[in-house]
């Protein structure tokens, strides 16, 4: 091989490698990883509730407590502010999120699909989420919630079957922080759109086990939740 041929061969190979890398990296940041919330992770204004929502807050709070007692899947939005590390995994067409608390895996479809029609949409605690990338920001739209699990929304209010959640995910330049803004709309609950933001910190690894073994019949647990210890 002559010197010019060798140089040309290398330039061609390097260009191909860089182009291929760019195609994968520039289009979609990878939000995969273990993410935790810390003491300074929360920017949560107070929600402005409708009159009917204000009247329903206490009943909802009791219902949420029942869900915790019963080990019911917590669902959204509680899944996103779980007290343990959140595991987020991203593939080309779907993003999976696993919390440690009792919950279904949350899936965000980024393959271009739409929400199912109302006759096909089965309401769940997490709702049905679709996402698309707008530059480096992941925009997520979620509908189809049911009334099970923890329904409380940070800042006030709760989710209902009429709720819609839009989220924006932005990864920091160094990939170590993930800022998510949440905006809830629901004419039966919020007088105006309610937005708040969480900042997650990436952690290198987490220890097993990954699932809380929630025992609904654990008498001590139920007693703590319903009749908590008081100072003597």
């Amino acid at each position: 091989m002559t010197r010019p041929a060798a140089v040309l061969l290398f330039i061609a190979a390097w260009s191909g490698a860089v182009i291929a890398q760019g195609a994968g990296a520039a289009a979609r940041p990878d939000v995969s990883g273990y993410w935790e919330l810390r003491f300074d992770s929360f920017h949560v204004p107070t929600a402005v509730l409708t009159t009917q929502a204000q009247a329903a807050v206490d009943a909802r709070r009791k219902k949420d407590l029942d869900a915790v007692r019963g080990c019911v899947n917590i669902g959204m939005p509680a899944l996103m502010n779980d007290h343990a590390t959140l595991d987020i995994r991203q593939s080309a067409g779907v993003i999976g999120m696993v919390a440690k608390s009792p919950s279904s895996t949350r899936y965000i479809y980024t393959d271009g699909r739409k929400h199912p029609g109302t006759d096909e949409l089965e309401a769940t605690t997490n709702g049905h989420s679709i996402g698309r990338w707008d530059g480096a920001t992941l925009l997520v739209d979620t509908v189809g919630f049911n009334a099970r699990g923890i329904t409380a929304v940070p800042g006030g209010g709760f989710r209902t079957a009429r709720s819609r959640l839009t989220e924006q995910y932005r990864l920091s330049a160094d990939g170590q922080q993930l800022v998510v803004t949440f905006t809830w709309t629901d004419p039966t609950v919020f007088r105006r759109a309610h937005s708040y933001a969480f900042r997650y910190y990436k952690v290198g690894s987490i220890s097993e086990p990954r699932v809380v073994n929630c025992i609904a019949g654990d008498a001590d647990r139920v007693r703590f939740l319903t009749d908590p210890p008081v100072p003597r």
Partner: protein, 251 residues
């Protein structure tokens, strides 16, 4: 001199390719919703055991006969109490059940969820297994899985299963064909996309306390395009004595 240029070019080319491979995943994307193909038995238990027969140790055969006799006598309800020490998950049953698997395949980890419920995790970031004999290790019905790509095949190695499960009828997890998955068990799975719509998984179970030889069988899963997972809406309080898996089976 010409040889020297050739060597330099080859070295640089290899470096460029390695650089590209670090940043662009060449592994097949297993992500999607996959449903197990039942050959049409119509019976889950018949399907579950419709695999090449394992070579079981005599004591396991005897135990299987005892379980079958108890079930014929009506012992079909799990009456074990759920306690905090009950292990979570049941890998062989999850992989062999009708609820579709939701796979999210990322670079460092593969999630496999059953319907929209809990997921098992396959670490593909190069980590080793933990010391599963360490008291700090919490065994589960999913065990601890690590995976690596061999060409187009994801090879998954699992150990660290729970020695017992909270099931009064069968206190140890059963594997297809009548084997057992427990703390002495080693499982190797091989995941390969046959085509865009078919996923083949070959399971090989090894356990000298259960099997006289490794037990291998394969499942084929079909992709559900745009499938939406449903959620298990059973109220745990409604059936406090039954495990989730038991609920699934008995329905």
């Amino acid at each position: 001199m010409r040889t020297l240029y050739s060597l330099i070019a080859a070295g640089l080319l290899a470096g460029a390719v390695a650089h590209a491979q670090q940043h662009v995943s060449i592994a097949p994307d297993l992500s999607g919703m996959w449903i197990l193909q039942d050959p049409g038995s119509g019976s889950w238990s018949e399907f579950y055991d419709n695999v090449p027969k394992p070579q079981l140790k005599p004591e396991i055969i005897t135990d299987n006969e005892a379980i079958a006799a108890r079930e014929r006598a009506g012992n079909v309800v799990n009456r074990a109490q759920r306690t905090a020490t009950c292990p979570v998950g049941n890998l062989p049953m999850m992989m062999g059940s009708s609820p579709p698997l939701n796979i999210v395949s990322s670079r460092d980890e593969v999630l496999i969820g059953a319907e929209s419920n809990r997921a098992r995790f396959i670490y593909t970031d190069g980590r080793p297994h933990p010391d599963v004999k360490d008291p700090a290790y919490v065994p589960s019905g999913f065990g601890h899985s690590i995976g690596r790509w061999e060409g187009d095949t994801l090879v998954v190695d699992t150990i660290g299963f729970a020695p017992r499960v909270c099931d009064s009828r069968r206190p140890v997890m059963l594997t297809p064909g009548g084997g057992r998955a427990k703390d002495t068990t080693h499982l190797v799975e091989r995941y390969r996309l046959v085509n865009a719509d078919e996923l083949s998984v070959t399971f090989t179970w090894e356990d000298a306390t259960v099997l006289l030889a490794p037990h291998t069988y394969s499942y084929t899963y079909k992709k559900l395009a745009e499938g939406t997972p449903i959620e298990n809406n059973d109220e745990p309080n409604a059936q406090p004595q039954q495990t989730y898996i038991t609920d699934q089976v008995e329905k």
